[in-house]
């Protein structure tokens, strides 16, 4: 098995008729994902590409199609509302790709999702892929192959880079999750580590963190407590100066906290294999799995 999404996932796309939404919906369908519905308010009753029914509301779409995973491409001013709508409709999982959502919107939205029992992945993330089964996001599907390594990351292209290295090293992936580059997000490293530990398919985890916040330190504390799988970790941003936001809203060293050095130290002490160079993520995991 994999985590979060699999071949049985029934995916709904919020914002399916927009530029991003329509492009990536086609990419997901091409990959083999079961996209069963789309939602664009005011366009209910239409069919996307003559195949996927479009609804005005998530509740209507869910009632009709039994969708359980929502993929969200709604622009920043309306994205928080879209996530809440997915939660209220009873979606099991909401994956929000949108970049640029106000932080305080996400604070409220995550509390709302927790209240409704919906897991949110993102925002500002590439999504989730269980190779060979289901792609719910914007990542290039072809670099992934099915296998035993779980990948968790705050980045987009850096994750593809790491996955590509794993694939070249002969290691497939169980599930790859982009948790997003914002300061406040729905699913943490720790949440994913926990799910991977319970997943029979996963034999090792690659964790890609970056400067800012304390999510990596929390992951380290969790790993230190007898985590059953080997973890290879890389932290981006050793050269970042304090006080400057490095692209991602969450990637900022504030008040001397959240530096790469601190995070690398915490993870190494917890028993993770911390690599200095992003070029050796794949090879390091291959070595560990070959000997372990």
């Amino acid at each position: 098995m994999s985590i979060l999404v699999d071949a049985d996932s029934r995916v709904l796309v919020q914002g399916i008729t927009g530029t991003e939404g329509s492009f990536h919906t086609r990419q997901c369908v091409e990959y083999g994902t079961r996209v069963v519905a789309g939602v664009t308010p005011g366009k209910g009753g239409q069919k996307f590409d003559d195949a996927i029914p479009v609804f005005d509301t998530v509740t209507a779409a869910r009632a009709e199609t039994d969708a359980d995973v929502s993929l969200i491409f709604v622009p920043p001013p309306f994205a928080a509302d879209a996530v809440k709508e997915a939660a209220d409709a009873g979606m099991r999982l909401a994956i929000c790709i949108t970049e640029g959502i106000p932080i305080l919107d996400m604070v409220d939205t995550i509390a709302y999702c927790n209240d409704r029992g919906t897991r949110l992945v993102g925002p500002n993330c590439p999504g989730v892929i269980s190779p060979g089964a289901c792609k719910v996001g914007i990542m290039p599907g072809f670099v992934h192959v099915e296998g035993a390594v779980g990948v968790i990351s705050r980045s987009g292209t850096l994750t593809y880079e790491a996955v590509d290295q794993l694939t070249r090293a002969g290691l497939g992936q169980s599930t790859s999750i982009g948790i997003g580059g914002d300061p406040v997000n729905g699913t943490s490293f720790k949440d994913c580590l926990q799910m991977f530990a319970e997943d029979e398919q996963t034999r090792g985890v690659v964790l890609i963190g970056e400067i800012g916040g304390s999510a990596e330190e929390e992951a380290a504390a969790y790993i230190a407590d007898d985590y059953p799988l080997p973890v290879v970790a890389f932290i981006a941003g050793r050269t970042a100066p304090p006080g400057k936001r490095m692209g991602h809203a969450g990637a900022i060293i504030a008040g001397g906290k959240g530096t790469a050095a601190e995070k690398m130290k915490a993870l190494a002490e917890a028993g993770a294999t911390v690599v200095d160079s992003p070029s050796v993520i794949g090879a390091t995991m291959a070595e560990i799995l070959a000997t372990g």
Partner: protein, 378 residues
């Protein structure tokens, strides 16, 4: 803060020594005998850097302003080069019985705002947090509910206040929480929050950070943006929707994606070099953005080589390669350019670069690219 109903000192902003002296004279007519001269820059730690000084006459306020205006102010929160002081704030000096600290920010781990309060206000709050964490009081704000009155009162008690000062501080806490939410702040900090001998509570100095992502719904705050406080190249990059940060190394970087950009800079460091910048051209790396990015990159002082690192996902590497070639036909580049393409159609992309009339150094792996870029720049 004043608009939010939080008591602040009287004062006005001056851009010349003469205006500063006049502002102090106006305050003197209202009965003030001491005046604070405060450098107006986008950085904290001003007290430590000599950016806040007291004067006992309008003439002295003018003299202090004269020395401060046009100088470079270096504080623990600026770089070693400091920031240029273009404006000063002249305020009526208040009598201080007690200095407190009060701030609200977002607790990322708990995913909610947190009030941070301390009875040990003043310049060394960072020191207090590091050495005496028990002197720092936290009050988290429940998402969707906001701050309750009893919670605000609890914060004021934790500040050691009683009676009238307690009531006044409770109001300030509630108003600060409302302000934080209303303006989509990522930080509202009052330091010091003072108590006067008459039990008045006044925000003597403050810093507010606004969440960039929320500016679309705060036009009035977006208008406060001051380009003179920003790095020239960074401001230029922002116009093209490029995420750019100036650094002081020699290897210019152009990468798609923020995480990969940081990782590329790290790899340059490992190869013995130093990055001249952070630059994320966005996932797509289109011709226009690559061209705009080059124009900005080439202005970096000390630039000796350029490293382009693109992971082609949905956007194919052959198209990215064409974009780079096209961009370089419009921009003259006189330093070595190392290009590393990986992902969809990477081989095709590399072939296009090698066959072009332009002089690229094509690398396959990230560490190879970093070594080439550092080596070429020596």
């Amino acid at each position: 803060m004043r608009q939010a109903g939080i008591p602040v000192p009287e004062g006005e902003v001056a851009e010349s020594a003469r205006a500063a002296q006049a502002a102090a004279a106006t305050l003197a007519r209202k009965g003030y005998e001491r005046f604070a001269v405060k450098a107006q820059v986008h950085a904290g730690g001003r007290g430590k850097g000599g950016g806040i000084k007291l004067a006992s006459s309008p003439k002295e306020a003018g003299e202090i302003a004269l020395a401060m205006l046009g100088s470079q102010l270096v504080t623990p929160q600026t770089g070693p080069e400091g920031v240029s002081v273009r404006r000063v704030l002249i305020e009526g000096g208040a009598e201080i019985a007690n200095e407190l600290y009060l701030a609200i920010t977002v607790d990322r781990a708990r995913r909610r705002p947190v009030i941070i309060a301390s009875s040990e206000g003043g310049m060394d709050i960072e020191e207090v947090a590091a050495t005496r964490p028990e002197c720092i009081h936290h009050q988290w704000i429940t998402p969707g509910w906001g701050l309750e009155s009893f919670e605000a009162a609890g914060v004021a008690y934790a500040l050691g206040l009683k009676g009238q000062a307690h009531r006044a501080a409770t109001k300030v806490v509630l108003k600060l929480a409302r302000l934080f939410a209303d303006i989509d702040a990522s930080l509202t900090e009052i330091n010091p929050l003072i108590v006067t001998p008459d039990d008045e509570v006044i925000a003597l100095d403050a810093k507010i950070d606004i969440d960039d992502n929320a500016l679309f719904r705060h036009q009035e705050l977006a208008a406060l943006r001051d380009p003179s406080e920003e790095d020239e190249l960074e401001a230029e990059a922002a116009k093209h929707n490029l995420s750019y940060i100036s650094l002081d190394g020699t290897v210019g970087c152009m990468v798609n994606g923020a995480g990969l950009a940081m990782a590329t800079m790290d790899e340059i460091l490992l190869a013995g070099g130093s990055p001249a910048n952070f630059l994320d051209v966005g996932g797509g790396a289109s011709v226009d953005r690559v061209a705009a990015a080059f124009k900005i990159l080439l202005q970096a002082p000390g630039l000796k080589s350029v490293l382009i690192n693109i992971f082609g996902g949905i956007v194919r590497c052959d198209r990215v390669a064409k974009g780079i070639i096209e961009a370089l036909e419009t921009v003259k580049v006189d330093v070595p350019v190392v290009v590393r393409l990986q992902g969809t159609n990477a081989e095709e992309g590399r072939r296009l670069l090698q066959e072009s009339s332009l002089d690229f150094i094509v690398a396959e792996t990230l560490d190879e690219a970093a070594r080439e870029a550092v080596g070429e720049g020596k």
